[in-house]
Subunit: 207 residues, 2 copies
């Protein structure tokens, strides 16, 4: 594997521990950018990533590697989980199109035999697993060719338009705090924030 | 302001551009950790952050600074927006309790007068704003005392239990891809993934 797919040291510092999934996501992000002919990380707000991951399962750490590789960060509202519980990610750039990368079943099966997962299944957190066990797995992943790990699907029909942005905000008539207008609700004829409204708390997910 | 609240250089690299909000979030995260007596960034999965931000409005960049400061990253499923459209964040550690930090209205008003926002409101992306304009605002923020920026509320009753994790996964009977069991649906008597099921796509938000 070429070194361009090895995360920089600060990526491990950002992530907080050593594990195989942050680097798997980093490499996936770099490969997807290459596939879409994107030459640099996203500086602003123009590249969107939809991981099909959820909660309550392992391997979500991929998303931190993807944030680092692509610049499509959660803070810039460029990354949003679909809550499908799948090891797949769609990358979309309005000028370049979309591609979906997923982890091949065979790769997941093979990786799962590693001692690292015996620790994880006993409830040992990644930072508590002996470094040689973790590093051995990370190195094993580095040694796999790209096409042993990733399934690639072009997504020619995929499209996404972010919601129209606005700077307008209004104070909640109950708590007095600023609320961006999109999220204001009306109660007894006055604008209020969602917590003060007592209204429902579900959101539509992206796709 | 003490230098401990100035983000490391790699935080700007991670974020992708210079703006005032990443540093505002970084400082908020560091202050919240101090308040909760947390001495180090979260390595694994034990510190939870609920930003009350949403989409389609500015200032979400705070969340990247918070990820960097706290280690409560999106990839480790430790950060989840509430979609309230508010400039506030609740930090929760099971052994330390919870605290909510929000930006004071007066600070937001004062900051909004800066030339940086004239560019943003004309649609100029942060990376396209002259560096001296951006750096002037970042420096202005650094110069504000903590209590001019942040409102702090203890949240003694706040509690959160992450969903129980499981490594169990099953192949979707239609597409053949692995799905973590929590996300499988049944269709015609067979387990399928959500996209293959055609079923609804909303999720309950955290609080």
């Amino acid at each position: 594997m070429t070194t361009q797919f090895i995360p920089p040291e600060w990526a491990f510092e950002f992530h907080g521990h050593h594990c195989p999934f942050m680097p798997i996501g980093y490499r996936m992000g770099k490969l997807a950018m290459e596939k879409l002919e994107l030459n640099e990380r996203e500086k602003d707000h123009g590249f969107f990533v939809f991981p099909e991951l959820g909660e309550g399962h392992p391997q979500t750490c991929m998303m931190d590697g993807i944030q680092v590789a692509t610049g499509a960060t959660y803070g810039k509202v460029l990354m949003a989980k679909t809550f499908y519980g799948k090891l797949a990610v769609t990358f979309y750039h309005p000028k370049k199109g979309a591609v979906r990368y997923s982890l091949k079943n065979e790769f997941v099966d093979e990786m799962g035999k590693h001692e690292f997962f015996a620790y994880r299944k006993r409830g040992v957190e990644p930072s508590g697993i002996p470094a040689e066990v973790t590093n051995d797995l990370i190195q094993w992943v580095y040694n796999q060719p790209d096409d042993a790990i990733y399934k690639i699907e072009p997504k020619p029909d995929f499209t996404y338009t972010p919601v129209k942005g606005s700077f307008n905000k209004t104070k909640c008539s109950i708590c007095g705090e600023y609320v961006f207008d999109r999220y204001l609700r009306m109660k007894d004829g006055q604008p209020v924030c969602i917590p003060c409204s007592g209204y429902e708390k579900t959101v539509k997910i992206e796709r």
